[in-house]
Amino acid sequence: MTLVQVVVSGLLLGAIYALFSSGLTLIWGMMNVVNFAHGDFVMLGMYTAVVVWTALGGGPWASVPIAAIVIATLGIASYFLLVRHIMRGPMLAQILGTFGLALFLRYSAFNVFGASFRTLPDTLVGGSFVLGGIRFEGARVLAGGVGLLVTLALHFMLTRTAIGSRMLAVSEDATAAQLMGIRPQRMQALAWGLAGAATGIAGALIATFFYTSPTVGETLAIVAFVTVSLGGFGSVLGALIAGLLIGVVESVAAFEIGPVYKDVIVYALFVLVLWVRPQGLMGKQ
């Protein structure tokens, strides 16, 4: 394995990190809500892919859109039933509510699917190939590529379209936005739907190369939190940059120092960045 190979696989990994963090950063930035159930949303997206494969025999082409719809629905339902009521409360109420939701989802999955790990067949996304001396795994290339595309699409939707401007208006001042004829609740529900869709897509793609289990969300949530804080809350572009950075740092650290220390390096880097630049790489002061 050469360093180039390591960096390339780090970039692919980072694009996936960016994808499943973009939903979290969208909600965080728009509503100032910490979603502790975010990792479990990813987990349910992964199970959707497992179910689509085992019940219907469908690959990512079927499972990605289905997971997007399922998790978007879950996000909108969470918004109307829970988040809408706790978002104006103290931050502790948000932790309490979304952590309760996380346990609820995690153990519902445990009851339905059991504790055992599920994996999709390796051949589902065309094995692996060599290009210019670098080995690529089909599943990771697909996941990384889609991750990059969806994250960029989300970024441009927020910054370049009318609906994006309306969403940002609500996030800056909901009352003022309402006076301009924008319905804040509709925009916030839309944000949860979009975040859910991105998260569902991420889950369905991750399931093609990673094991699926009821508790997998816990690990993924920590990565997402670090990515979002490092990139700056609310900045999808920041999440993309931070995701790629973390992916590369992790891969290089695992290669140069040892796999055990890759997390140590990432967390240490994160704390260091927060110390020097508390608002994250792309965050506004």
Binding site: G100, S108, V264, L274
Partner: protein, 319 residues
Amino acid sequence: MTGRRILHLLLIAIVLVYPLLAADSPVYGRLGALVLLGAISASAWNIVGGYAGQVSVGHAVFFGIGAYASVTGFVHLGLPPIAGAPVGMLVSVLVAAVIGVPTLRLSGHYFSMATIAVGELVRVLSSTSDFLGGAQGLGGPAMPRSVFDLSFVSATPYYYIFLAVLVALLGLTHWIERGRMGFYLRAIKDSERAARSLGVSAGRYKLYAYMLSGAFTSLAGSLYLCMFGFVDPESGFGILLSVKIVVMAALGGAGQLFGPLVGALILVPLEELSNSYLGGQGAGLTFVVYGAIIVIIARFLPSGLLSLLERRKVVRRAD
């Protein structure tokens, strides 16, 4: 008022004789001690998280320091585990200063995220340390060598030890709450900028609260080790532990003296009884209910269960 006084005396009496009532059942005997241990951890968190409003989601760092200080004292020096408690508290104060000075400058969510990252950092590092027993963890004395090992078959001695610590901690918290520092902390929680403009050195008082909170969380960790005799990176430094501490305090009512105790009284029995009665198989289903209860409380009582009492008080005053 006499009715209230009778109620208070009755509650105190129940707390004091509970182990005797539960003596026949090992499950309920253990449960009493566990509720108190949970209440100690959450009450310690409450000083910085509740009163000062700095939501740390990494308090397992201190819990783990306490547990590991106790167990390493035994493994490497042959000391009774409880001898590690003051060492753990001292180390926790130092670690709190090291973590707190950079992170307490961060506001709101950023502070919470930084504490999560530090917690994970410590957990991963501890699993690579041979001194701390690596990923397998370390065990305390297998057989009690003397009474100082605090190794008892019955849960009753633990119950009274934990009760004494909790009463001391709540007494200290009450004293802080009513003193100058309590006012400073609440002012910082409401608006740090306003507190600063009135001459409160916010940074210093946040750090004091964090160090104090860390020291008592560490004590809870040492007590945990005395009772369970074992700790590994997940049970000592795991993020689930950090979150549970926050949830206990928030469920009862953060920033209120008895809030963490009320939270522990609800969450610990819910978890323990479901584990012992339903075993591994049913545990999934009961955690579904556990999660749902937390969601419902957050949805309808965002300031915790004790806010119900506050509401009644307001109504009474209005009458």
